[in-house]
Symmetry: C2
Subunit: 478 residues, 2 copies
């Protein structure tokens, strides 16, 4: 570890409390992107991030979302959050690489009543962990970049590379408008002069060992709607006389996936890459204990080996049933026949599946089920779009810098992993910049992104800020 | 129609606007019994009704609920609503029959965002209809008794019979505590000296023809819980590696009932009474048009004859799937694997099914499915209790008075019907008083009890108040 790195790490350690306070300010903004009532807060969050980076001296701009507005299912038209772009330092340094940093500042829904132990939008420290929605996904990491750059500035360390920033507020839905910004509206910004892209929006596999990530699954989100009446019906008066929407929907949802996780939709697995011997070798060195994984989350695993579990996570497709809109979902009893119910599910896609083929298979399946059920009820399928999987090469200058930085902070070589989640724009950045992308996670595998009690360990938060600093410093040496 | 009846009817007509305003006051109280946050309002509603009847001069009392408190699924213990009893006139008249009037003043859940066109707790008049939660189920009818007694008093008409009142606030859940009050705590009030019981808590079959009702289905409410993790999981990271609770729950819910409405639970139909030729005859005179029923509610019917549709409604069991607690139920997308999901369903029971047998069949079925799914997830069944069906004899003094009163108000003879809904205590009253019960509905078949846009037609509301008056007057002649 060189002197600059050491100086940087010491400074980060000394500012721990201030850095936690900053994260608290970021978490407090309820930037839930998928809900209409929090859309203003999501927009505010994007502007807030712009102002934060401007204080650093970065040249920031707010770009109107190219898709401008979206329609919610209830018919209301809402403005889409803008996208924040930036350049730092404001004046480009010659003979330095240019790195694009992407992150998102919107979050998943969260309510205390969902089963949180603390208020989700009040960052709460407990046993070395910082609980709050967005703490790890993805406000902590975005703020991490800002904080290390502030620290470098305070220490008089020149920014080691030219940076471009792209921070959005629709990642948790579908990154609406971002692809248009990248490939059309601002292709000057994205498609020229970027040597590599860096994203911190995933997690370590476990809780102890850091990793660098070179692959992601894609995702296609679906909803099936069944409608059986003009309004909800009393189950005493109508039960036994009318064809109920819930009965049909539950049959359709039940036809999609088996208990063992296998997908029941014809053709869905046709395009999945076969496992090669070379791929099998890549699992061997990875530090991942299925017993710990199982215990940590109190889950029951579908597979009994490390290799098959990792494959289930990142190289095979999966289908999850998320819930039903329109049916009774509160505690207690309500003996109603819901008039219209909307079943939500998503399919994680892997190489070489394509969105077109997946959507087509699901459409055919729903048509087949509709025919099989012979239901007179209205049944229709919606797909909000499909995001492709991403698969990179885990070598080259980005990964070399990432390996050194990881060793500097954590004293170990990182595992080289793929991930099961989806960051829709990773592939877009790779295609637009025609240069590599690296995923460099900050949080741990038990952070609980999207769930109740999402958290980031103080160790990971502070370690991640150092990691980003060391990573940029190493890139500057190249 | 005699002079007293005519005088009474004219007075009711003249007070229409005031009567609508009174209903508006009653509807405004959010007495949703199944939800913890509205429990104080439910309790307030019971006290409010006591005060309303006291103004009439009735001798009212508030009885603590014999079950005292209940535990909600989240662990909180809440006071149960009390039960309001009353006697009118305060001094018993000799040589007059004593009639028990029962009603409930709690309501089903309702939120504007459920899809109501108006605020559910603001009674709103539109095209001769009064929209509001509880307008028809069951605040309108309870208030109707009060208003006709007030009117009689104002006209100087002596109350034709001795009345006892029983108004509760837990009907929409399970009438918790009421059976204990009837058979134990206040068996003096219920078990002696009551000649007949009258309940107005159901509806006409259609929208034009009045009816009197002599049978009800019972109900057993169930929830199946499946738990797969300590907290909600990110479907990218966990999808394809863990056994998901939703997958299991959807399979279990899907195994309960077929699209054609037939119940898939072994043994459930074993105790259902066979249809006799005599029973078949009773359907013939009934004015019920399945085409109108279908069109009015925009539903698809399971059966293509009037007889079979009525049988499906009131003499065969039915199973409805109501919804899932714990899964994502809001608009938008949330790509989460819910940690614990609770599927809610209910079975409407008919003679001679018993709660014990139904619960036992469902328990066995869930155990069978658990074994079939071979799931390592935690699966458990809850039943909040089963209410027996009720089947009376549609003749005797109550029904004779009801027939005359119906003819006086509407100019036609009522249909003699059974109903598919459940009023748990009907059978209890029959058993406790050892005397007959009559159901004398106020609302129309399209009122939408339990659904969005619940309403009562002004015609039915005002007609119902007259009906109650004429009914009591006819009872007084006997």
């Amino acid at each position: 570890m060189d002197d600059v790195t050491k100086k940087l790490f010491d400074a980060v350690d000394s500012k721990k409390d201030a850095f936690i306070q900053r994260l608290s300010d970021w978490v407090a903004i309820k930037s839930i992107s998928c809900q209409a009532d929090t859309r203003p807060e999501t927009i505010r969050m994007v502007h807030f991030v712009k102002e934060e980076f401007e204080k650093l001296g970065a040249k920031m701009e707010i770009c109107e979302n190219p898709n401008k507005t979206e329609f919610f299912p209830d018919g209301q038209e809402l403005q889409l959050p803008p996208i924040c772009l930036g350049v730092y330092p404001a004046v480009k340094m010659e003979n330095k690489k240019t790195i694009l940093i992407y992150g998102h500042v919107d979050v998943q829904p969260a309510k205390f009543s969902d089963g949180w132990d603390t208020e989700p939008f009040v960052l709460t420290e407990k046993d070395g962990k910082l609980y709050g929605r967005g703490s790890t996904d993805d406000k902590g990491p975005v703020l991490g970049w800002l904080l290390i750059l502030e620290t470098m500035q305070e220490l008089g360390i020149e920014c080691p590379v030219n940076l471009r920033f792209c921070f959005e507020g629709m990642e948790e839905v579908d990154s609406s408008g971002l692809d248009d910004l990248i490939f059309k509206v601002r292709n000057d910004f994205f498609c020229e002069g970027i040597d590599g892209t860096c994203i911190s929006d995933n997690y370590w596999l476990g809780t102890e060992k850091p990793c660098l990530t070179y692959g992601l699954r894609g995702i296609a989100c679906f909803s099936v709607t069944v409608e059986c009446a003009a309004s909800d019906l009393h189950s005493g008066i109508f039960g036994g006389t009318v064809r109920e929407a819930m009965t049909d929907l539950i049959q359709i949802m039940g036809s999609l996936v088996n208990g063992d996780g296998s997908i029941n939709i014809e053709g869905i697995n046709d395009e999945v890459d076969l496992v090669t011997q070379a791929e099998m070798e890549t699992y061997k060195p990875i530090d991942f204990c299925i017993e710990e994984f199982k215990k940590c989350h109190s889950v029951n695993l579908l597979h009994d080996t490390k290799e098959r579990t990792l494959q289930g996570r990142w190289r095979y497709p999966s289908l999850s049933l998320h819930g039903i809109e329109g049916a009774f979902a509160d505690p207690g009893e309500k003996t109603v026949i819901p008039r219209r119910v909307i079943g939500k599910f998503s399919i994680r896609m892997v190489p070489s599946m394509t969105g077109e083929a997946v959507i087509s298979c699901v459409e055919k399946h729903v048509e087949m089920m509709k025919a099989k059920l012979n239901t007179p009820n209205k049944v229709w399928l919606n797909c909000s779009g499909a995001d492709k999987p991403w698969f990179g090469a885990p070598n080259g200058f980005l990964y070399e810098a990432g390996k050194i930085a990881t060793k500097n902070v954590y004293g170990v070589d990182p595992d080289m992993t793929r991930e099961g989640g989806s960051i829709p724009v990773t592939l877009s950045f790779q295609e637009a910049t025609k240069n590599p992308v690296i995923l460099i996670p900050m949080g741990a595998g038990d952070d609980g992104a999207h769930g109740q009690n999402e958290k980031i360990n103080i160790k990971n938060y502070i370690g991640g800020i150092k990691l980003f600093g060391s990573f940029l410093h190493e890139l500057g040496k190249q």
